[in-house]
């Protein structure tokens, strides 16, 4: 097996992404299609990567157990006590209709705002004066018409909030997931797991206590993230608000009270689908597809600064670069923005096909990989120049380049043909910048098109390159739903996967880091692209060595 390199005209990449204006010469693009991957071993479970090879076995117990690998967890679906349906649907049955119209109107105003009030008055036309019910009916009709017009501009606003989270979440098939969100602590070995029953559990290998966090407002958790440079703070993106839990690591309590949680909410900013802490731990960003502004929270003071930009119709996904200099924010429309965090200005990047589904940053913050809905490629943006320099200003990228072609590829296995590839659900890059995991959506209808995780080897120096590593497979019948790399795994990279069965497993990738050290603040500037070719040959040999 050998890898092939395609030389693409950058204009062909431009046909997919509309760029602002600048012209660039030919760009050498190395295509790394899925056909070059080691073949699928069907029915086997991927255990780890060792000596440049993915090892697999028939059961997860076979794994060469090491102390530093956290044990895998299992949350059987049956063990979770699920809520009965949300109260909105059952509310009418319990509402006391013998109350006066005014009491009910007040309640409706409190619960549903203006439209709730109008709705209440219109429906109870027998009690209300005729002119009142007619007027409110008219206003309601106008409101609905306006909102439907707005909905035709931005179709996502007509979705219910659960559907919206499903649509924009990084988790595959979010409503059906037992594990809805997962987050490693950035400095220690503990992690938080948000479950289907809206509770959050915190696991720490060093302690036997697993605190369970429950809160009245903690509904439909879309994302959780630990605050960097802090031992205790955990931000939770809920349906109606943001919660920031302060879980004392020394506490022996298994059920921290709701008073440990700060509630951050802003009118119109719900559901929250994505959150991102600044790597310095000082600010928290939150995004909602219904709100055109991205919120910058000062969590301790519970105050926020909305960063409003017209266009896009909302913000769906946020990703803060590890060096803290840039933030990716994608919108429900085919448009995403890259903010620089010094003065909070942004670059607009319109796409043609669809919205930006997922993105991830290289450890030094100089390169952004992202995938676009409806396309089967990974794009890269490269940011050169030092973002910290005061006067010179940083130089943004001129064009996005295609770094990987992920079109569907069929593998022959004993159980029949399996098609792999297609649209990307999420991307994850390990903190050393050596492994890139790509979660494919698959096709839930077709049996031979499963969702699967493909892992690439990446290298940033001396040139950026992408080499195939392999597919990560779980138990038969289990689909990967969510993945995250351990933030400081000493022996390489550790990929944590949450499966549709409710199992959480960890796949270690053992390798020696070439860069040696972790992220420096100022990453070395990447070399010009022209030098790419000679370097490629040197790695080709590495690649052949791997599969021999």
């Amino acid at each position: 097996m050998f890898s092939c390199y395609l030389v693409l005209d950058s204009s062909s990449a431009k046909s997919d992404l509309a760029y602002e204006n600048r012209e660039r010469g030919f760009t050498m693009v190395k295509m790394c299609s899925l056909a070059l991957f080691p073949p699928l071993s069907y029915g086997q479970i991927t255990l780890c990567e060792s000596n440049n090879e993915l090892l697999s076995g028939t059961s997860s117990d076979e794994a060469l157990k090491q102390d530093f690998i956290p044990p895998s967890l299992h949350f059987p679906r049956e063990s979770l006590k699920l809520h009965s349906r949300p109260e909105s649907s059952s509310k009418a049955a319990f509402l006391d209709h013998s109350e006066t119209l005014w009491m009910r109107s007040a309640a409706a105003w409190r619960d549903g705002g203006l439209s709730g009030l109008l709705n209440e008055i219109t429906t109870s036309h027998s009690e209300a004066p005729k002119w009142l019910s007619v007027t409110s009916g008219c206003i309601l009709a106008v409101l609905r018409w306006v909102s439907s017009f707005h909905g035709s501009l931005f179709p996502h606003v007509t979705l219910s909030s659960e559907d919206m989270i499903t649509e924009f979440s990084q988790v595959l098939n979010w409503p059906d997931c037992v594990v809805r969100a997962f987050s490693w602590h950035p400095h220690t070995d503990k992690f938080a797991v948000a479950l289907l029953d809206d509770s959050i559990k915190i696991y720490n290998p060093k302690s036997a206590i697993t605190p369970t966090l429950k809160h009245r407002l903690q509904r439909n958790v879309a994302a959780v993230q630990w605050k960097p440079l802090c031992a205790s703070a955990l931000a939770v993106a809920c349906q109606n608000c943001l919660l920031v839990w302060h879980v004392d690591p020394c506490s022996l309590s298994t059920r921290p009270s709701s008073s440990c949680a700060q509630v951050l909410s802003h009118p119109g900013h719900s559901p929250v689908t994505s959150i991102a802490w600044s790597p310095s731990g000082s600010l928290l960003l939150s995004a909602s597809p219904m709100d055109m502004s991205m919120m910058v929270w000062d969590v301790a003071a519970e105050s926020c600064v909305p960063l409003h930009r017209v266009g896009g119709g909302g913000v769906t996904f946020l990703s803060w670069s590890p060096d803290g200099s840039h933030v990716l924010s994608s919108t429900p429309s085919p448009l995403f923005r890259v903010w620089e965090t010094r003065t909070w200005t942004c670059e607009r990047w319109p796409c043609i096909k669809g919205r930006c589904q997922s993105g991830c940053w290289s450890p030094d913050g100089s390169r952004l990989l992202f995938s676009v809905q409806g396309e089967t490629v990974i794009y890269a943006l490269t940011f050169t120049g030092t973002p910290g320099a005061p006067a010179s200003g940083f130089r943004g990228p001129e064009a996005a380049v295609v770094v990987a072609d992920l079109s569907e590829t069929t593998f022959n296995t004993p159980d029949g043909d399996v098609t792999v590839g297609g649209e990307v659900q999420s991307l994850a890059w390990d903190p050393r910048g050596e492994r890139l995991a790509v979660l494919f959506k698959g096709d839930p209808q077709a049996a031979n098109k499963p969702a699967i995780v493909a892992v690439f080897k990446t290298r940033a120096n001396p040139v950026f390159e992408l080499l195939p590593c392999g597919f990560v497979q779980g138990e038969p019948g289990a689909e990967p739903r969510l993945m995250q790399f351990h933030p400081n795994f000493r022996h390489g990279a550790l990929l944590t996967l949450c499966w549709s069965t409710g199992r959480i497993t960890h796949v270690p990738f053992y390798f020696l880091s070439t860069s040696g050290s972790f992220v420096g603040l100022g990453g070395s500037p990447s070399l010009p692209r022209l030098q790419e070719k000679p370097a490629d040959f040197s790695h080709q040999s590495l690649f052949t060595e791997l599969i021999s």
Binding site: L229, A300, A389
Partner: protein, 666 residues
Amino acid sequence: MFSTETSCWFIRKVICWRAAASIAWSVLLLPPTTAVFVLLSKFSLLQPIQTISECLSLISASSIFSFILLGGVIVMVGFLILEYYTVIPTIACSKIALLSQLLHPRQFINSIGHCLMGVIVGWCCAVTIGHRYKMLGRPCKISDGYSQMCLNEHHLIFLLAGAFVGFSHSLLGVIHNINYISFQIVQQHKYLRFKGSLPLVLKCSATQAFYSVRNYIVVYFFLGYIPKTWVCKTLNLQLEGSVHPLDSIAVLLDLSLLYHLWISATFLLFTWYITLLLFRIFVTEVYTFPVQSTFTEDSHQSLPKVLTDKQPMILKFLALQDLALLSQHSPSRRSEVFSLSQPGGHPHNWNAISGECLSLLAALTQRLAAYHETVATNGRAKSLSSGSERITSEPSSTGTEDPMSPRPVFLMKTPNIAFARSVGGSSQSPLTIPFTPDLDSPFASPALRRLIAPVEQCSPWHGTVQSPHIMRRAPKLWSTSTDLQVNGSPPPSPATVPGPKQEISKPSFLAQFLQNRKEQVKHFLAKRVLIMYLFNKLPEASSQALFADSQAHIWALEGLSYLVQASFTEDQFGVVQTTLPSILSSMLLLQEAVDRHFKLPHASSKPVRSTSSMEDSTYKTLRFALRATLKTAIYRITTTFGDHLNAVEMSAEHRKRLQQFLQYKE
């Protein structure tokens, strides 16, 4: 007006220009605002075309004159804001303190100014709206036939409404600390920040105008006859008998009048709030100080020099903000901080910057410790004898703050206020609370001070501050500072000053007598409800007052921790290493003090957030921000240095504490 500050280059060269720019922009924004106001005030749903023609017909000499007047009002408001702004809020710890703030002569001038400008804006609005509001007098027929000038009450009601709204704006400004200027957590461009806050300003002015007009109507309903008869007398106008007087029920039902009053009040508040907003945006803009000045005559403008200045506060704050930003974002300026002086090779820049930051932190630690001691001792039942023993030290305790902040403190105003008030503010001695010796504070109203001074003098807390705990603490602080000297960095000055100097003499008979009388007076007064109401401490206000200037500490912490983090890779000469032990120990000391403070009642209760007001309530949550920043700062250092910190010299207690941070258990 700037008697003390004219000497400062920064006020002259930067702040004045920024203020001028903000005023210019608010005057430039006046035409569109006025246009919208005219359109809304003339609007009639039934005759849209007539509305437009009426609006166009307004362009005349009188309207241009009123427009110029409006511009003048904006300039005056801008000047008042420039004169009264503060970066450290004044927090009243009791009702009486708030009252004395309101009655302070300085504030009185402010209120009168706003009142007058309100009248002018009211006149302009009345003239612009026209119709029945246009003139103060109008010809009318008295019963015996010949015509005379009568009072047009509709005009008068506008003038008075302007005065009322202006006055209430200035009063509410005191209560809500509207003159307080906070700094943003993110640095946006001025235009974007302005655009982002515009909807809020509009909403605030509309709701505020609504409440003001409501209150005004009530006041006018009851007291409206006084100004009416006064105006009639002075201007020799007649009251028209045939027309309904406006201080009647009828006016409450006159929707058109109410609408015009509301829209005028909204216009007034909107233009003033815009001026305020622009001033805030312009003044808090980042100013980049050179770390190292190229020419000697500019050396007083370099960052290390500016940081050590005590006045003006705005300069200090902007310098600290610049320090926090440069430490975070710009490697080139960081390298200047770490650089050595050319002949000699001394790290002057780093020494000056770190020394100033450390002394800020030490000052806060001491302030917190002193507060804690007072609260703790006041909470206990004190024996009379111990009290009398302390009262003898009265003469030396006139400057109680001295042992606490021996350095010519960087905050000339507020720490005194904060400290004195909060210290005195425990429930045991409610009478001592609100008055401070500070001349610049609003409490310096002479009459009130005379009234209270005797009580204050025999208050017990002067003595209690000097409790054995402080004495015990002093050597500890001192030992850490010797540490500093060993390490070759300039000592953070407050720590090195020896403990309280105070000779304890025998309790005299007179002192005991005074003490007894004082207790009696206190008991007597405490039973009176009104006095209790006025003097009772507002919950958590003392906590807010303690942390009133904590934005400076937050920046100092951020600046230090980012610089230390960067020094791990960027500091070529090991400049930072020499100061690292003292940085760590002062942070840990502060952490300990802050932790202890948050265990007090009310300290950790969150204030209610008001969303629809121009009030900047950042100062209410500064203590939480400080706590979070402090923890993050320590973590930033421990995460960067990791186990290397074991090689740093420090006390066993601190090492234990630091170990907690290294294991992420805090």
